[in-house]
Symmetry: C2
Subunit: 559 residues, 2 copies
Amino acid sequence: VCVDYSREKLKWNGWGWLEQDFDLHGREEGLWEFLQAQLGIDDLPDTPAVPLEEMPLPENRLSESQIEDLRGLLSADRVHVDRYERLFHAFGKSYHDLIRLRRGEIDEVPDAVVYPQSADELVALTQFATTHHLALVPYGGGSSVVGGVEALAGRLAGVITVDLSRMNRVLSLDEESLTATAEAGIYGPQLEEHLQKHGYTLGHYPQSFQFSTLGGWIAARGAGQQSNRYGAATKFFAGATVVTPSGILHSLATPNSAAGPDLRHLIAGSEGVFGFITEATVRLRPLPTARDYRGFLFSEFKTGADVVREIIQEHVDVAMLRLSDAGETWFLSQFKSIGKPASWASKATSAALDLVGVGENPCLMLVGLEGTTTSTSASRVAIARIAMGAGGIPIGAKPGKGWYGTRFDMPYLRDALLDRGVGVDTLETATNWSNLHHLHQTVRKQIATSIRRHTHVGTGEPIVMAHISHSYPDGASLYFTFIFPVALEKPVAQWKAIKREVSDSILENGGTISHHHGVGTDHRDWMEGEKGELGVAMLKAVRDSVDPHGLMNPGKLLP
Amino acid sequence: VCVDYSREKLKWNGWGWLEQDFDLHGREEGLWEFLQAQLGIDDLPDTPAVPLEEMPLPENRLSESQIEDLRGLLSADRVHVDRYERLFHAFGKSYHDLIRLRRGEIDEVPDAVVYPQSADELVALTQFATTHHLALVPYGGGSSVVGGVEALAGRLAGVITVDLSRMNRVLSLDEESLTATAEAGIYGPQLEEHLQKHGYTLGHYPQSFQFSTLGGWIAARGAGQQSNRYGAATKFFAGATVVTPSGILHSLATPNSAAGPDLRHLIAGSEGVFGFITEATVRLRPLPTARDYRGFLFSEFKTGADVVREIIQEHVDVAMLRLSDAGETWFLSQFKSIGKPASWASKATSAALDLVGVGENPCLMLVGLEGTTTSTSASRVAIARIAMGAGGIPIGAKPGKGWYGTRFDMPYLRDALLDRGVGVDTLETATNWSNLHHLHQTVRKQIATSIRRHTHVGTGEPIVMAHISHSYPDGASLYFTFIFPVALEKPVAQWKAIKREVSDSILENGGTISHHHGVGTDHRDWMEGEKGELGVAMLKAVRDSVDPHGLMNPGKLLP
């Protein structure tokens, strides 16, 4: 597979491939009816996006001679100032980004988009930016959902977005140490293709897998859906080269070290404000020869969470444990049922539910196992023992297979909903097990309350749901999804108000502001609450030491 | 058990309990004969330590009124300026420390030793130190072997050593999240006693376990002997409170987070230069109900290392894998044989070695399993398959039990050897598997070469040996021990010359300057080689942001 990531193959104001939309298999009408009923709206509006040619385009702040100089630094075909490239790179893929793009509410776009091919070119770009007081925005796959690649100039004279997707070579594979080193602009499928050809995998499959890059995963401290087995970015990340405005930083790719604080944990989560990650070394696993994804149902979220906790605290070898709350389990079953006579959660299952007393609002746990047939069998036995011991009902491999087959598709649905004035956003956090239920209930209620408070459309209820997506011996992440009517007169204000209240609630109730999406612009104002005034001062001191003029990705990460 | 860590119960110029020495079981003469033969010395000299009352004691740089003020800040009985306390706290427990203490070669000692009992008192101390331009040296168990607690004033007017051993309470135990929070001055046995009473363990058993503290483990990024199961400090460390001269830093004890760089990895390895760790939250495991320690022999280090690698890369549940090279295996068997007719490695075993062709210079692998009988049995089977498949010979539980029973004793031997002019020092590093053998051979040779170059005593050979002590999927640590005649006319110069050449060799050959001992004063000059100029600048920027006057542990960690 040679995937073509040319920018014109991708949506500039939506998710993924230009030629791909969410496939409703002819069930569109059923979906709109379902949403109209839920949200209490008689007829969902048509809210198409502003087409490219009608988008307002801010004037270019770079002079012709500056653009010429840039072309001299790289080459003419890797410096772009056209409408498409500038708009394509203006934002990431958050709800906040899409509503602005779709309505043409654009304040800033990059003045130039450049595609470097080497660390040397990046050094030259930092020197150019220093001389001309320009912001540099590192851009990998551009899939940030927290405003991480927004083209903000801050106090500087303009913005150059630095698209790293041409730096996509695998540089080395160390089969003895099970590590690989690659250029940071490599996309997930490109990296996996190379590794799998040799029998290895990084195993990092975030929902954005197809449209995100190695450097972005590390810069934003991402976590893949199978992070239990393969590790979040902080775990698989073994070393990097970072080009900063003050020089090049190499972190030693050592398995562990006591030589002072670990610079790798300053690089992971740095979100481009210290410099460009140009190369990274990552830890691999052999390609699994067996996969087993299956489902269990529990009568209560708390029971299911205890099962997840027990599995993890017993260190059972699992790739994924995904526990939906009752709201999400209900939504998934409804969504699957739309336009269909029956679904996995309806007929046989509901008879079984009645029989064993799992209740009317069951919670779905998906278990993903990867490894060898021996290891997955052993894990399956251990998990069945724990889950069924707690009253869980095994519902077989079908829900697991269904999830696996469509695991990258959901973001496409957001574009379809936005065409009809329906918003869908997600946010996520993590906390200790002893605080998990409190946080789950509090944030769930806060999301519903805030949506109601800031939405005066519809007579129904917003759809609010959550699942545990990543778990650890000491705690787990909570991933919330909410569907609501867009306040068409002021959608950005609506979103900001909801976001502010919910983020406050997360921090006040012991959660982290993000488990795996990052900070960007959206969570920046909560960094002081999370890290403390002193913690933020420490990070700013690091930033100032490598980027004294604040050229790197201004306005992100640090308040 | 209520262990009494009163400072007068401990040696001030040697290892451990005042009342305890290395027990040679009447085999002293045999040991001296063995060492004389190896090192080529006719008669080992008597080199007793200078007694306390004859030690030179630098004049106190604090005025009477400053000492009175300190007593006012804490209480009179927690501020000490007497000879014993000042000398006890002058150094840690490195070879470099002991030779200076034993010869009375003391330039600096703390002017006062204080025992705070709360974060508030520490805040008051930082304010006092700021006003009077005094250095503050955080002191936990004082077991640093890299000069981490040396009383250096640097450019300041004096030194207050801050002994945290009175801050030793367990504050909370979260049985759902499997975490505990304790004050950082708690000693290993105190913490484990509390945890084990409730059925849990931290499982962190470094060789210094009895004489080191929670805060020190984190500050120096330590690793226990069973780190494969329980994790090194960087893994079990979940959160901390740090009192800095600029305020208090709390790091959120979250299982994982994408809210920017992880401050916990700035605290871990900070070695007191950012502030005092006052409390820490750590991740626990249930107390194991089964333990199994046993041995295998391999014909070559490389074969054994491949087995260790395979076990770890298969993610077999092991607590410890310890592979001695041929030199260490030989030394251990010799050491055990001294004054005895036979040993585990001599009779039956050597017959077996002959039989199966494991060779004349076998390498010993100790495997430690902890968990339940089910889990340890499963691991035992997996390990036997891998080890015996590679030609390893199982030699039963006796060497494992022997090691386990004496695992904290070796440091006492150093004092006995120093009484007879024999030096023993250790150093350690880590690297990727693909570089492990190169690093092992190069450093081993460099140690022998450097000892020969800087030692003009004896006609024999220094004893140089190594083992793999901690292993990871991508690499392992190497722990070197070397025994040599002390150059009595200039032992510090001898040690410094050897240390410098070997440290250079480690960095030049891709190793980290320390896997689990830390940096302190001894490795400070290699930090730029390890982290790069920019990396050191980043860490200095962090330090300056929380400690602008450089009061905290000057001269340590940062060059």
